[in-house]
């Protein structure tokens, strides 16, 4: 049985489903026989999610990964809310991927991405809490010989009001675990929440401020060795030849591992491994990609735009007839927008520690957005059955999509450690390797054509997008009729009521790997919302009023746009010397809008003073974490506006480190005012939505300030000096 599993290809385990909202559910499903976990002494597992200690401490198991977004705490809040335990006694731990597959995927999905942690597991984690609560109450009823319905649970204590008797959860857990879970579970109305919905402190912060070893790169094991890696700098290429004599003679060096498209040096410290790596004389087979650069990639995208009969992501009304009819379209406006490849640049580089143990098992420690996918990757790379592998999920020093899919770094870590059986080996990529071996946000080119009527109203809109497809590259069967929904996000689902619309997509995948970069498709927000701004100005109308006229009264884009504009004081004079721009865009289950206040100095220096960002996620589980995510999205969205880009020359990435792939610093950080405006009735995400309107709001504000329309990013390629300055 196990051989078949390990020889099956990765895609056989990959379950893909696209939801109506355009979200992508992506998870690994490893078919393994059901088994119960060995019980831990002294503590009781009431159910898979909840472990209760005799002294009432509650440990909540979290299946999703924590990469800074706060899901660890938010999911614990949802469980604790229904459990009615004492929040002060709650801690959380990551669920074990090995146990997950042995127990028939008992924790649902371990995949962490698409802002889905809360929104796609809220139902089952709340039920886990409610079910455990009912079992604890049931145990108290049995102990007292009274109907459970007469008992109340609150803050970890079950009371029997008629007699005043009390029992603590710690005293009831062992009996509760033996009670069959209830069939009918009623979840609490969010308006009655006591723990969820509150800005409780994050559970992971105390360790993080102490510098306790919590990240993948911090793993330390007895006798552990360290590895530094060099991968073929030209994408798609492989290793041809390595001369390792000098490196092997260097201090602390233990081994040189050669594999497919990489070579790694193993030594007794990472620095020694990395020093020796520099001494390797490596010959690469560039697979014929060594001549590709920015110009070839631009040409590839441009060719895509010139093709007719492309797959359509949206077709409403009759676009051709509308443009041909001067009675309908009085004015035509066309524009082309573009943006470059971008790197995730997590602060913690890719890392994986692996240890082939004497008993034939394998242990892996890594910072992954999907523990189950990491387990499968380790199985494929080691040739061991998944049951013999444990993956220890570490805190992530950032993820942003890079550590979700694929798990390339895990496969490498395992292959490297395989060369040193019995010895744990920690692989860490240098920053340069990390920068040059990403799964980049696709570069893209979009051509827009709008038809306005006599009154300036938008009646016909055509958008043609050319960009590499993430799905075609990573999960081809998730493509639908030639469309990758991440490539047309915001265009195919544009909320504005425009009678005639057509959105076409040209899949153009070059040799540069592409992947899920925070809010995949978010560059379309820049294109669409800046182009709409162009139309508002062409029509001589206020950009807010122009948009509102195209949004139905109950449209949630409208509601969040209004709330955000109001909070920003849209329509009132901005601070002296500053101008405002706005944008709205939905995605990842939520609705988001932003107003940016910027100034541009006479010499062309841009300053973003303030960004007011609004999010409607339906429900809010931890308002403080949601605000932190909004702040995070503002700065993550600002880097690509200001200066970030990944350039390709000679088939490889030009940028190497933070000196040429810059991240904004505190001095460049605008003030962020977050508007949380949950309208209830749905569960939206927070990790990504707020990034969607950031770039267009800033660029629209630049137009308001300078009269210059920025149609390609980053701004470092543009001269913002005002025409009136010398």
């Amino acid at each position: 049985m196990t051989t078949t599993q390990t020889t099956m290809k990765r895609r056989d385990f990959l379950k893909v489903s696209a939801t109506a909202a355009g979200a992508l559910a992506l998870e690994f499903c490893l078919p393994v026989a059901t088994a119960r976990a060995a019980p831990q002494a002294g503590v009781t597992e009431v159910n898979a999610w909840i472990v209760i200690h005799p002294d009432d401490r509650v440990v909540i198991r979290i299946a999703r990964s924590e990469m800074g977004q706060g899901t660890f705490t938010a999911l614990a809040q949802l469980v604790a809310e229904e459990l009615d335990c004492d929040w002060a006694k709650v801690s959380a731990e990551f669920a074990s991927p090995n146990e997950h597959i042995r127990r028939n995927r008992i924790w649902g999905s371990m995949s962490t991405g698409g802002s889905m942690g809360v929104r796609t597991s809220q139902d089952y984690v709340r039920k886990a809490g409610a079910s455990a609560r009912a079992m604890l109450v049931g145990a108290a009823g049995r102990r007292w010989n009274v109907p459970a319905a007469e008992c109340l649970a609150d803050r970890g204590i079950v009371t029997h009001p008629p007699t005043g008797r009390k029992l603590r959860y710690g005293e009831l857990a062992a009996e509760a675990a033996k009670i069959p879970p209830p069939q009918d579970i009623k979840l609490r109305d969010p308006k009655d929440w006591k723990i969820a919905g509150k800005p409780v402190h994050r559970l992971d912060i105390p360790d993080k401020v102490m510098g306790k070893p919590v990240f993948g790169v911090d793993v330390a094991l007895p006798g552990m060795l360290h590895a530094s890696i060099a991968q073929c700098p030209v994408f798609g290429g492989k290793l041809k030849n390595v001369e390792a004599k000098d490196a092997l003679a260097m201090r602390g060096v233990k081994n040189v591992v050669k594999q497919g498209d990489f070579v790694a040096v193993i030594a007794d410290s990472w620095w020694r491994a990395d020093q020796a790596l520099q001494k390797l004389d490596i010959e690469w087979d560039e697979a014929g990609h060594g001549g590709i650069g920015n110009a070839e990639i631009d040409a590839m995208l441009r060719q895509g735009l010139d093709v007719t009969g492309l797959p359509k992501a949206r077709e409403t009304g009759n676009v051709d007839a509308a443009f041909a009819d001067v009675g309908q379209v009085a004015k035509v406006i066309e524009a082309e927008y573009a943006s470059p490849y971008l790197h995730h640049a997590t602060m913690e580089p890719m890392t994986c520690t692996a240890w082939f143990k004497g008993d034939g098992s394998l242990e892996v420690w890594t910072s992954t957005q999907d523990g189950e996918a990491a387990l499968h990757e380790a199985a494929a790379a080691s040739g061991l059955p998944p049951e013999r592998i444990e993956v220890h999920k570490m805190m992530l020093g950032g993820g942003f999509g890079r550590r979700g899919f694929p798990q390339d770094f895990v496969g490498q870590g395992v292959k490297i450690a395989k060369a040193m059986p019995g010895v744990p080996v920690k692989l860490m990529w240098s920053r340069e390797e990390d920068m040059r071996h990403g799964y980049y946000r696709p570069a893209s080119l979009v051509r827009m054509k709008a038809g306005l009527d006599q009154q300036g109203r938008l009646v016909a809109l055509r958008a043609k997008a050319a960009c590499p497809s993430i799905l075609k590259a990573l999960i081809p069967r998730a493509m639908r009729d030639g469309i990758d929904f991440t490539a047309v996000l915001g265009l195919a689902d544009m909320p504005y009521t425009v009678p005639h619309q057509r959105v076409e997509y040209a899949v153009r995948n070059g040799h540069v790997p592409v992947g899920f970069w925070r809010a995949p498709g978010q560059q379309n927000g820049f294109y669409r919302e800046c182009f709409i701004d162009e139309l508002a100005h062409a029509a001589g109308q206020d950009p807010l009023a122009y948009r509102l006229a195209m949004l139905a009264a109950d449209d949630k884009d409208r509601l969040i746009l209004e709330a955000t504009a109001r909070a920003a004081g849209w329509g009132t004079p901005p601070p002296p010397g500053q101008h405002r721009g706005l944008a709205v865009m939905s995605g990842f289950g939520s609705f988001a809008a932003a107003v940016a206040e910027v100034s541009v100095s006479a010499t062309g220096q841009l300053k973003v003073h303030r960004v007011v960002v609004g999010v409607d996620s339906g429900h809010v589980v931890n308002p403080d974490t949601c605000r932190a995510q909004a702040e995070s999205n503002v700065v993550y969205g600002l880097g690509p506006v200001l200066y970030q880009e990944i350039n390709i020359r000679n088939g490889r990435v030009v940028e190497a480190n933070f000196n040429n792939f810059r991240l904004p610093r505190i001095a460049e950080m605008p003030k962020v005012d977050t508007v949380l405006a949950p309208t209830g009735g749905f569960w939206g995400g927070h990790g990504e939505p707020a990034i969607l309107p950031v770039a267009p709001a800033v660029c629209n504000a630049i137009f308001a300030t300078t009269g210059k329309r920025v149609r390609s990013l980053p701004l470092s390629h543009h001269e913002l000096r005002r025409p009136d300055s010398a």
Partner: protein
């Protein structure tokens, strides 16, 4: 053998003088609070105090540290939480947390020099990179520490 004084303790380690302090700390002394982010003194994740000044541990060599007092995040709050760490909890600053130990050490050096830093002081001295964008909370926490 080289001698180091880290967090008030004397260590003897057999490392080459060219090895950056960061790797002495992380791989030879087991002090992993200082993080590697870039290795070229560009990100500040590896910031520690050397004789009270904020120093990027990836950019200083083992051989340059004779007789110097090194303090890392592990030794910042000798008896429990340092007030900066407490302020970081109060303001819920960290997200992923990776850059935070370096940030906290940079702030310790800033506050030692300027107990009441202005925004301009913060902009000048706090040049650490945080990919998660915790900057607004970092600024708020610093002002709170200054009693503003």
């Amino acid at each position: 053998m080289m001698n180091f004084n880290v967090n008030g303790k004397a260590y003897q380690v057999d490392v080459e003088p060219e090895m950056p302090l960061l790797w002495v700390l992380r791989d030879h002394l087991g002090l992993t609070g200082a993080k590697y982010g870039c290795g070229i003194s560009a990100c500040g994740s590896c910031t520690v105090l050397v004789d009270g000044a904020a120093v990027r541990a990836c950019g200083v060599r083992a051989g340059e540290l004779a007789g110097k007092k090194i303090v890392t995040i592990e030794g910042l709050g000798q008896d429990g939480l340092h007030r900066i760490q407490q302020a970081w909890i109060d303001h819920q600053v960290p997200q992923c947390g990776y850059c935070q130990t370096g940030l906290i050490m940079s702030v310790a050096a800033l506050l030692a020099k300027h107990p009441k830093p202005t925004d301009a002081d913060i902009d000048r001295d706090i040049t650490n990179l945080c990919r998660c964008g915790t900057y607004p909370r970092v600024r708020a926490a610093i002002h709170a520490l200054a009693g503003d």
